[in-house]
Amino acid sequence: MSKMVNFAIDLGTTNSLIAKFEKGQVEVFKNPNGFRETLPSVVGFRNDRILVGEPARNYMINKDPKSVGSRFKRKMGTTETIKLHSAGGSKTPVELSAFVLKELKNFVHSGEVVDAVVITIPASFDTAQSNATREAGLAAGFRQVILLQEPIAASLAYANKEKSVDLRNSQWMVYDLGGGTFDVALVKITEGELTVVDHEGDNYLGGTDFDALVVERILVPEIDRRGKFTDLLKQMKSEKGKYNKLWYRLVNAAETVKIELSTNTSAEIDLGMLGLQDEDGNQVDSLLTLTRSEFEDVIKDSVDGTVEMMRTILTRNSLRPDDLAFVLMVGGGSYIPFVRKRIEELMGISVNTSIDPTNAIVVGAAYFAGTKEIQTGDDAKKAPTTGRSLKVRAVYNRNTQETEETFNAKIEGDIAGLYYRIVSEDGAFDSGLKALAGRIAEDLPLREGAFNLFQFRIVDSQNNPISTGVDSIQIAQGRYSVVGQMLPEDICLVTDDLANKDTRLRKILAKNGVLPAKPPKVTVEVAQTIVKGSDDEIRIILVEGPSEKHSSTNKPMFILRISGKQINRDLLKGTEIDLDFAMSESRDLTVSAYLNGTGQEFSQVAQVTNRHVDTPLLTSEVVQLEARIQSEADEATSNANHDVAEKLGLLLRQVRGLISECGALASDDVTDDRFKLEDKKRRVAQEVFELTSSKRLDAAKGAYTEAKQEVSSLVQENGNDREKHQLRELLALEQTFINSTNPERIETVIRDLERIRWQILMRLPDFLIGMFNHLLERRATMNDQVQAKQLLESGKRLIANEAWDDLRQVSGRLWELLPDQERESDYLRLYTGIV
């Protein structure tokens, strides 16, 4: 079976595209670095680099025009060469076009080698210009180049899209208003073949001209009116002008609003980010509104000029507008509704906008390529052999702390006529094409704390890759470096565990993490209202040690206290506190707490090498530890667990000794006694934790099994789809937590199960009635008897009316009337004050 050409290129004056026909569909390839289908047809030479496309256009076209080739398509087929400052001489339009064509090959993400291609040319191209285009294609390494006129390509795109339309014996115009050029052509079907009969054009009219008009005629006068300026437009257009930056900013904004005005009747430009000031330093109102009719007014003359060219074609060919079937709109400019409307108005014929104006030409050309066979005879130019092999020895730091590293390589072999290129995998760096030398050095920018990947390629003059064995460069910046300091232990935040009357640990920084480190922000809540001016406080406590253990077993390293005396208003229960942490390489720990309720921020830096032991806190911890050991020992005794009970008895004696030692310690003790005491306390706590951890784990597993059974049957009977799904999700993870040695992981799941349980119960009438009756019994203890009476009466009515939603609300309000001790019968003495 013969192979088809399939690939097509729209080699445009301002932008170029590449597409492929495959199985009846056309794919337009995207620029790997630009997220767009288009590649600006611009080639720049800067020092030893060759840049093609956006970097050349953005960076150099206005600033170093002597080193940039653009709009060279219009010079194809002439003997004119383009003098390029940095390229060390001149380049022909063919050479420059070849660079663009080679760059387009990189768009083909499938990695296919493109041997043959259809390249489109304007209707205005004569034989010399056409041959020059073919030559550029061959220079770019294509073995076969087929040319196709752009209006024909656009017509093919239309015919393939609207298959049912019969175009036989008809003629139409293709109106192509691009970024910087305008072409219009009369296309006809004669003897079954598509032919361009006549054409007109303007090489310097396009969308970018419209943007500049909007800035000059609408935006600048408006800004001028709003403040005091002298010769604002001049100040904006002049390189050294005070408002030069504003010019670029407005041109960019004009392009955006132009697009927006294609769908909306008005659009806004918001320059609020700039903080624009007039000459007197007064802020200028920075919201500019532009209506579609204002926009239409400024482009009207240009658009009317294009219609004149269409009329010229008609006159020359003795045609009337109604001899045309339609006007086919191509190019970005044809998105503008006014352009379409104006053509319809002035010409009296319908415009056709059914094809994508941006890629219609390349799409049509790809359909054509799908019908053309690849020639295999002598006609096809032989591709040069690329069988040469090179030896590349690369030297660079694979781990670094720097933000830039130099990639060095020594190349052995025949390097004549070869180039190299380095492109980052993340899309942020492209060295451009550079001539290969025996030694190369390229500075590569690195992202901090990231794994930086680059692609290294050596290609011949036709962009064919040469195999070298080195195709990627990998550099780990910062965090992966082995010389970085590692954390020996987890660093955890201590929070209160209200349900278990205990504390829990939340991991902030993980063991073996590399410093410096900045973990994500943590948000906690105030567990109990702190009254302004009171001695109540919250404590942000950080400890060092395994996160699955208990705060008492880990080394205290940091405490930040915020008391009622420091706050500017009451800090209500439930208020969020945002905590930010950062640890430097020298282990300085910075903790900032922002109180959302008061708008205050507290920050403290602690050197971890200086351990912090707070004597009153230590005393309270030891007392707490004693109570805990006592209760654990009692429990072990009642369970006839004599071995554990005996060991706990020993620990109890030790801890009692610690209590008296703490009592003897002055609160401002300056010796290291408190450190020793803290050490002893921690050892005791560690032992208690180990003695009782299996018990906690068993208890957690038991509680889980119970909760699972209860919630499962409840969900089965009364749960909705969402709750069934939630339960399934939780149970699916059972293996991951049930075998864990960390009771807290299991307890977290139990809490999730409880939440589902409450969700369901709060819908069930029986439960709601039960809860209401329970509240009814506690009526006498409620805080506001008048309100309680009203609510209870209303609750009874709601039960009679079966208004369950309202009953739930009434019960909620009654619950609020219960005094605190009723709600939380055994009140927890808070340790940190945060949950």
Binding site: G44, E54, S424, D430, K521
Partner: protein, 118 residues
């Protein structure tokens, strides 16, 4: 040579991040008495959790090899360029260790020696 596949990011996510950036800039220009910056940080954290974040290139050096920026040069000098104004930030997808550019930053750059105009 095969290339990396394109990452499809929903347009709403890019719009959200672009506007978030714009709010952040406006607050820094006009002040933030209500401390809205904290809410912005929270939204950014949430988006980061979804693998999307933006990078503010303001003040960063610019070279022609940078392909994460679409730059317009203000002034004559083209050496030692820095980003002096950001119209859109760079948006990246991924995690801190490895991410890819999904939206180029649109910026204005200027030579350091020319100083700040306006």
């Amino acid at each position: 040579m095969a290339q990396r596949p394109a990452i499809d990011v929903q347009k709403w996510a890019l719009t959200l991040l672009n506007n978030l950036y714009e709010i952040e800039r406006k607050l820094s220009v006009h002040g933030d008495p209500g401390n809205a910056g904290r809410n912005i940080e929270k939204i950014k954290d949430a988006m980061m959790g979804e693998g999307l974040f933006y990078e503010d290139p303001l003040g960063q050096p610019f070279k022609e090899t940078r392909t994460d920026l679409e730059a317009t040069i203000s002034g004559n000098n083209t050496d030692d360029l820095v980003v002096v104004e950001v119209i859109k930030p760079i948006i990246r997808a991924g995690q801190a260790q490895f991410s890819r550019v999904v939206q180029k930053g649109i910026v204005l750059v200027q030579a350091k020696v020319e100083g700040g105009a306006e």
